[in-house]
Symmetry: C2
C-alpha cells in the first residue's frame, strides 16, 4: 500500500564504505543481518531513541560512537526489554564479527529491530557472521536496506552527489520503518554515509540538525520505538581538507545534501507507513514558537479522527478544528485560526470560508498526496511534518503482527 514509493535505483557506492547482508533464519529465507564496515579514517555520529525502555543494543551503540568502525544490524528481533543478558548478546555478536574482520573487539555498533521482549537467537546469528563478513562490497546498499526491513513493504535508500573542494562527495543512505513511527531524535533505523572528511565534533552537530529536519518531523502512529537510531558516517575517503568547524561554509553545503537525503528517507518511511493510502504534509504557520507549531502539527497528524477522515477522503474539516482545539497551547484563539487543503481555503479566522465548498475540499482529499495548512495567526514561526492516514490495513497489520 506504499504511497508513490518504489524500489530504489541508481544507488551509488560511497568510497571507504563496504556492506554485506545475509540470512540467519530469523525471517525465513530473507536477509535479516547486515554489516557495514568503514575505512579507518571514518568518523561516526548518531542520535538515539529517548525511550526510557531504550534497547540494550542502543546502550552499546551509544558507548561506541567515537570508536566505531562499522555497524552490525539485525531485523526480526529488537533485543529490547532484555536487560543485561540482552546487552551481553549484542556485545558478543559484535565481538564475533570484529574478530572475523580483525578489528578491535569493541569497534562495531549493534542495532536491532523487530519484536520487543525476546532474547536474540544467538546460535543462528553467530553462525551467519562468517558468511556476512566474507561478502562485504561497496555496491551492497540495496541489500543493506532490504536486510533491515520488518513490516516495510519497500526498501528505502537514496543517493546524492555534491562537489566540495573540487571533490565528488557521495552521500548514500538507507532507512527502515513503517509502524511505531514517531521518532524522538531519530528513526528506527536510518543510516547515511558519505566520503567527506569531517571532524567527529562537526559530525555530531550535523547529525542532530539533519535528524531535526527529517526523521524528527514524521509520524505514522505517534508511537516511538525502543530501538530508534539514526547514524551518520563520514568515511574520509576523499582528498578534501577536513571540515573542522560547523561554521565552515562547506559544512553547510554538506548538511544541505545530508538533510536532503535524510528527508527523502524519512518521507519514504511515511509513504510506506503501515496501511498508508495517503501521504500528507501538515504545515503549521503563524505560531508564536516552533514548539507550538509542532504541538498543533502532531496533534492534528496523530488524531485518530483526523486520520480516519483522511483515509475516507472525507472533507470533515471540523475534525481539524477539534484537533487544533485540543492541542496544548496556552491561550490559542480559535478566531485567529485559518485552514487550507492545498490551495483551497476551508476556514478563515475560525469560521468556514465564504468561498469554501465541500466539493473543493473533497477533491483535494481524493488525491494521494496533499497538504493540510494551518495558520495560527499569532506569530511568525512555521513547522512542517509528514504523516499518513489510518486505514483498516493499519489495524490488520498490527493485530496480526505476531500471528
Amino acid at each position: 500500500m506504499a504511497v508513490n514509493l518504489s524500489t530504489p535505483k541508481n544507488l551509488l557506492p560511497v568510497p571507504g564504505v563496504r556492506l554485506a547482508a545475509a540470512s540467519s533464519g530469523i525471517k525465513g529465507e530473507r536477509d535479516d543481518l547486515a554489516l557495514v564496515v568503514f575505512d579507518p579514517s571514518a568518523v561516526v555520529a548518531g542520535v538515539y531513541t529517548q525511550s526510557a525502555f531504550a534497547a540494550p543494543p542502543v546502550w552499546v551503540a551509544k558507548e561506541r560512537e567515537q570508536i566505531a568502525r562499522g555497524w552490525l544490524a539485525n531485523s526480526g528481533n529488537a533485543n529490547a526489554a532484555t536487560g543485561e543478558p540482552g546487552r551481553k548478546d549484542a556485545i558478543d555478536l559484535c565481538q564475533r564479527a570484529a574478530a572475523v574482520l580483525e578489528l578491535e573487539s569493541n569497534s562495531l555498533q549493534p542495532f536491532s529491530t523487530g519484536v520487543i521482549g525476546e532474547r536474540l537467537p544467538m546460535d543462528k546469528l553467530l553462525a551467519a557472521i562468517p558468511r556476512l563478513a566474507n561478502s562485504l562490497d561497496p555496491d551492497n546498499w540495496l541489500e543493506f536496506a532490504s536486510a533491515i526491513m520488518t513490516t516495510d513493504t519497500v526498501a528505502k535508500a537514496v543517493s546524492k552527489q555534491v562537489t566540495i573542494d573540487g571533490e565528488a562527495i557521495t552521500v548514500t543512505g538507507v532507512a527502515k520503518g513503517s509502524g511505531m513511527i514517531k521518532p524522538n531524535m531519530a528513526t528506527m533505523l536510518g543510516y547515511i554515509a558519505c566520503n567527506a572528511t569531517v571532524s567527529g565534533e562537526v559530525l555530531r552537530q550535523l547529525v542532530v540538525e539533519v535528524a531535526d529536519a527529517s526523521f524528527n518531523r514524521i509520524t505514522v502512529d505517534g508511537d516511538t520505538s525502543t530501538n530508534d537510531c539514526f547514524m551518520l558516517c563520514a568515511s574520509g575517503a576523499s582528498a578534501m581538507s577536513p571540515i573542522v568547524s560547523a561554521e565552515d561554509p562547506r559544512a553547510l553545503h554538506l548538511k544541505h545534501t545530508l538533510a536532503s537525503v535524510a528527508k527523502t528517507l524519512a518521507q519514504s518511511i511515511v509513504r510506506d507507513g503501515e496501511g498508508a493510502t495517503k501521504f500528507v504534509t501538515v504545515t503549521v504557520s503563524g505560531g508564536a514558537s516552533r514548539a507550538e507549531c509542532l504541538e498543533v502539527g502532531y496533534t492534528v497528524a496523530e488524531s485518530p479522527l483526523v486520520k480516519t477522515a483522511l483515509f475516507a477522503g472525507d472533507a470533515n474539516w471540523g475534525r481539524f478544528c477539534m484537533a487544533i482545539g485540543r492541542a496544548q497551547i496556552d491561550g490559542l484563539d480559535a478566531a485567529g485560526v485559518s485552514l487550507w487543503l492545498d490551495e483551497v481555503e476551508v476556514a478563515h479566522q475560525g469560521l468556514m470560508s465564504a468561498s469554501y465548498s465541500e466539493e473543493a475540499g473533497a477533491a483535494v482529499l481524493a488525491k494521494e498526496e496533499f497538504e493540510v495548512r494551518i495558520d495560527l495567526g499569532r506569530g511568525a514561526c512555521t513547522e512542517t511534518i509528514w504523516t499518513t492516514d489510518l486505514s483498516y490495513e493499519y489495524v490488520r497489520i498490527n493485530a496480526e503482527y505476531r500471528s
Copy 2:
C-alpha cells in the same frame, strides 16, 4: 459492539426535575432534542471542554451556569466552529423554549453534539420546541439519554439513592459519547441531577471533583470534543437542610454517590466506545506524582500499537514497554518498571518475569474485561483510567461517519 452494556433499567425520577425529548428531523425519525427543567430551588454547576475551539453553545452554557433553570440539548449537529452566528442560534433556541415555559429568556443552558462546522437547522429545531415543552415529565430520563446519542449504540443512564438527614436523595444521570473521547474536564455530554439541597458554591466544587474521578479518567481515541460538558443539578426538592460547606460530612456522602453514578456513566461511554471489543482498566502505581501516573496511563491507553494488540488479544507485552518508554517522564528507569495483566506478572523490574508464559498472558487478553497494571517503582501515587481497543470497526465508523 458495546462491551457488557445494555439499555438502562429502573431509572428513578428526581424530585424537582422534569424532562422531555422530541424529534426535530436532524436524525430522521429519532429523537434529537431534549429539554430538562428544574424547580426554582435548583442550583447548577458544570465543567466544560477546554478546547480552544469550544463551541458557541458551550460559551453560552458557561455564562448562564449560575442562573440556569434547565438544559436544552440537541444531537446530530454540534453547532461548533460556527462563531457569532452559531452563538446567536443557541441563544435564540433557548429563548424560544424559555418563552413557551414562561421562564426568563436567558434561563436555559444550550448544548449540542454532532457534526462540527455546520449551522444548526433552526427552522426544524424551533418548530419542535412547543411539542418538547408540552411533554415534560419526571419519568423521561431514558428518553433524554436516547435523544442525545450520536454514534452511541446504547443509551447511558443510571440511578442511585442515598439517605441524607433522613431524606431519600435520588441521583440520576445520563451521558452520551462513543468517539472523540478524551474529555478534558468533562465528557460530551454528561448530566446528573439529584434532589439534594446544596449551595451553588459547594456544587461547583463537587462537580470538579466528581469529573476528575470519572469523566476525566477515560479515553477512547485521545480526541477531545469541542462540545464536552458535564453538568450537575441539585434541585433542592427535599426537606434536608442546605449543605453550604464542602467540609460538611453530608457533602462527602453526596459526593461519593455522585462520583459512583458519574463513574458508571463514564465507564459506559468506554464500553460503548467506537468499535470497542474490550473494556480495559489501566492502573499505574508507584509513581512519584499523580501527574506522571496519568501520563504513563494515557500514553499506554492511547498507543495505536497497544490498542491493536488489545483488539487482537495478542500478549505482545513489548508494546506496553514501548508505550511506557515514550511517556514524557523525566528520568524514568526501565529497570524499576513491572507489569501485570490481571494477576499475571509479565515483567518484573524491566525484564520478563521468570514465571511468565505467553499462554497466561494470552488467556487474560482473551477476556472482554481485564486490567493492565503498571508499577513505576519510584513513588507512592496511583491513578486508574479506562479505555478500549482499536478495531477495524473504529476505522469503519469514522471513515463512514458522514456518508
